[in-house]
Amino acid sequence: MGWEDMVVRPDAQDDDPTTMTLEAFADTIVPGAKRRPGDTAVAGVSGSDGAVAAGALELLYTPATGVTAGLADASRALNEHALAYASEHGLATGEAMPSFVALPYAYRRDLVHRLTTPGHPEKDIWVSLALFCNMAFDSAAHLPTADAMAARHPGLRAMGLADPDEDGLWRFPEHTYGRELADVHPDTTPSGSPT
């Protein structure tokens, strides 16, 4: 079984505008390789799996996050921001795809930076979504971690997390250089505290 089989996909189809927009947002945070020819949501500025492949949408659609109910509204708002941004920069968007998806990566990145900068009235929303997109990659918070490791979750693997023991727990018997590596501060108490 691969890691893709472990998660419950949202009901929406891959060409659903909300799905595409959220995928494009997640791909802006941790970019990945295009999944197929013609993949528009994933910009393809990285050669390996990113947040989308790691399960960002599965995590966003996990009700425990508290953001799930607002995803459709967030997607609409992001496309409205993208439309205004495109107009401001003289970029074409067209109607073939959601406005945010139509933006090249550099512009997606600039817009997300703008939305997450202190002072932006919607900053909380976009920071929350970015946080969960990043968590899908760096901690696979939608999956039991030992299972995600066993199934070669792309984020945990990319970061190089060591495998747990057979019981799903981590132990590192080798953990120290084992020798004195600095002089301790001259003003240290016998119990090891600063004076």
Partner: protein, 550 residues
């Protein structure tokens, strides 16, 4: 129709401030009830799992404010269950700090010498032990070697960890599965329970009101054990004396919410919050340079690649803990482990223009995660945090089922704080970028503000009623019979990990609180030995509970 429930002492919160109070009051003969908003977990409940809903999210609270976010415990044992067990005493100069108030922040009765006997008691109870170099993790050893290379000193930290049981799994933030970390579940709390204290998890105190006989009525909500956004009931308990120890992010909120019933609060309630001057830097090590410049190898040809291995912080550099230096320029630089999920997003790509916290370069940095070294800066901040109006319940509007919420704290760092951060950042850069060892950058403050795991001072002790909410006995001014013993009572940043000082202050406060309890008609005495000592209850056996949510 039921009668009103009553007790002698009601303790709010079961972290260091609450557990120590509950132990001595129960041991002295008082009827004690402890209300804790989080679940009651023990060794077998502590998981190695990032899955939402695991102990990692059950036991933690992460409250985002304006300019400051606070990470705190949310379980029986409070911060001690999720802390990294570093237990240094605060340096002498800290007690002489003035901050920006123009006079000594600490009560005249407290300095390092006065607190040392109470530190000794905590060290015996936990217990706290000095570490040797074989106890130091690869990450701590690397930091020590880099400090030495830069002409600095570096100390193995005193910790509350049983090294014989520790597996160096670095999952301390989710609670210790191996019972190696000496949390309050092993000493003060079982001691309190053995003397009859009753601990009720998943009870979140909202406010206090007065009773006709001069005591207090404590109003609480019951919290669902899985979805903390859901309340399953409410209730009240009357008490002759209340000890508030809900943590520096919650104690002032409870008092603010109580103001319509109790009357005006002292002006320092919910002000002077300190994030302990905390800030983080992430370095990405050049493995070849670690081997060639520092001469480090793990024995298998690998120089480091050990970010995941260890037990939180093990080594700190204390060269700037120098009382002759001006205030706001003194700090410790401590090696730390910060797990994925909670802070990785805030690490910035060294040398990259804004935005440096996301994008393809950040992904490349994540791919070198094993070679990360996190350095924790504990500086002297300026107590600039202020709590706004309380949310409807608790201390935050809860966004997620567990952990993530939005709170009323605002924090705008002053030039003093910014100066300390910049100086400490530059110091870390000087140490770690020397001879190409690493590239380093501070975490961004743009997303969730500054970030503290050690909230302090939001309801602090002092001699000046304008700038301290508590007198030097920890009693709330103008509200006799309410005491505060948690981190909110600490006057300001400590430049080191604060758990030891919070605990020592709670120990020191106990004789006075017992006296006050007697004056309020409670049959109680002070004099119990520390838990685990001869004659004291508790010690090697953890608190035993049935369901984890009793």
């Amino acid at each position: 129709m039921s009668s009103v429930e009553s007790t002698d002492v009601l303790v709010v919160g079961s972290g260091f401030g609450g557990a120590i109070a509950a132990y001595y009051l129960a041991a002295g003969g008082a009827r004690v009830v402890v209300l804790e908003r989080g679940p009651w977990l023990e060794g077998k409940d502590f998981e190695h799992d990032f899955l939402l809903g695991s102990s990692y999210t059950r036991a933690f609270d992460f409250v985002v404010g304006d300019g400051m976010s606070v990470l705190g415990g949310n379980c029986v044992g409070g911060g001690s269950v999720v802390y990294f067990a570093a237990m240094p005493r605060a340096p002498r100069f800290v007690f002489e700090r003035h901050g920006s108030v123009g006079h000594r922040m600490w009560p005249s009765t407290i300095d390092r010498d006065a607190l040392d006997p109470w530190y000794d008691r905590v060290a015996e109870a936990m217990p706290v032990s000095k570490q040797g170099w074989p106890d130091v993790s690869y990450a701590g050893g690397l930091w020590a070697a880099a400090c030495h290379h830069a002409g600095r000193t570096a100390n193995p930290l005193p910790v509350a960890i049983d090294n014989d049981l520790c597996t160096n799994c670095n999952w301390m933030m989710a609670g210790c599965r191996f019972d190696a970390k000496r949390s309050l579940l092993f000493n003060y709390l079982p001691g309190a329970v053995a003397h009859g204290a009753e601990i009720r998890p998943l009870h979140e105190v909202q406010q206090l009101s007065r009773t006709a006989d001069g005591g207090y009525r404590v109003h609480y909500n019951r919290v669902d054990g899985e979805d903390y956004r859901v309340h399953t009931g409410d209730g009240t308990i009357d008490a002759k004396l209340v000890v508030l120890a809900a943590g520096a992010g919650a104690t002032p909120v409870i008092l603010q919410r109580s103001e319509p019933e109790l009357g005006a609060m002292p002006p320092a309630v919910g002000k002077y919050f300190s994030g302990n001057g905390e800030r983080l830097n992430t370095a990405v090590l050049n493995e070849d340079r670690v081997r060639d410049v520092l001469g480090l190898t793990r024995g298998d040809g690998i120089a480091y690649e050990a970010n995941q291995i260890g037990k939180g912080p093990t080594v700190a550099s204390w060269d700037r803990l120098d009382g002759t230096l001006p205030e706001f320029s003194r700090y410790s630089l401590e090696q730390l482990y910060f797990p994925p999920g909670l802070g990785t997003i805030l690490a910035q790509v060294p040398g990259l223009d804004d935005p440096a916290w996301f994008g393809p370069e950040k992904k490349e940095m994540l791919e070198r995660w094993r070679s990360w070294l996190t350095v924790f800066l504990m500086t002297e901040d300026d107590n600039e945090g202020v709590f706004g109006p309380p949310p409807p319940t608790g201390n935050a509007f809860r966004i997620s089922q567990q952990m993530l919420g939005r709170g009323p704290l605002s924090y705008e760092p002053t030039p003093n704080t910014l100066h300390g951060w910049a100086q400490a950042d530059a110091d870390v850069k000087d140490i770690l970028e020397r001879d190409g060892l690493a590239e380093v950058a501070p975490w961004t403050n743009d997303l969730v503000g500054a970030y503290t795991v050690h909230p302090l001072a939001s309801c602090r002790i002092g001699d000046d009623p304008r700038t301290s909410a508590l007198d030097d006995r920890h009693e709330l001014r103008d509200h006799a019979g309410i005491f505060v013993t948690d981190g909110s009572a600490v006057p300001g940043a400590l430049t080191v990990n604060p758990a030891m000082t919070i605990a020592a202050l709670a120990e020191r406060a106990m004789p006075g609180i017992v006296d006050a309890a007697r004056e309020r008609g409670i049959d109680v005495s002070y004099g119990a030995p520390v838990p685990g000592a001869d004659g004291g209850a508790g010690g090697s056996v953890p608190v035993t509970v049935g369901s984890g949510e009793r």
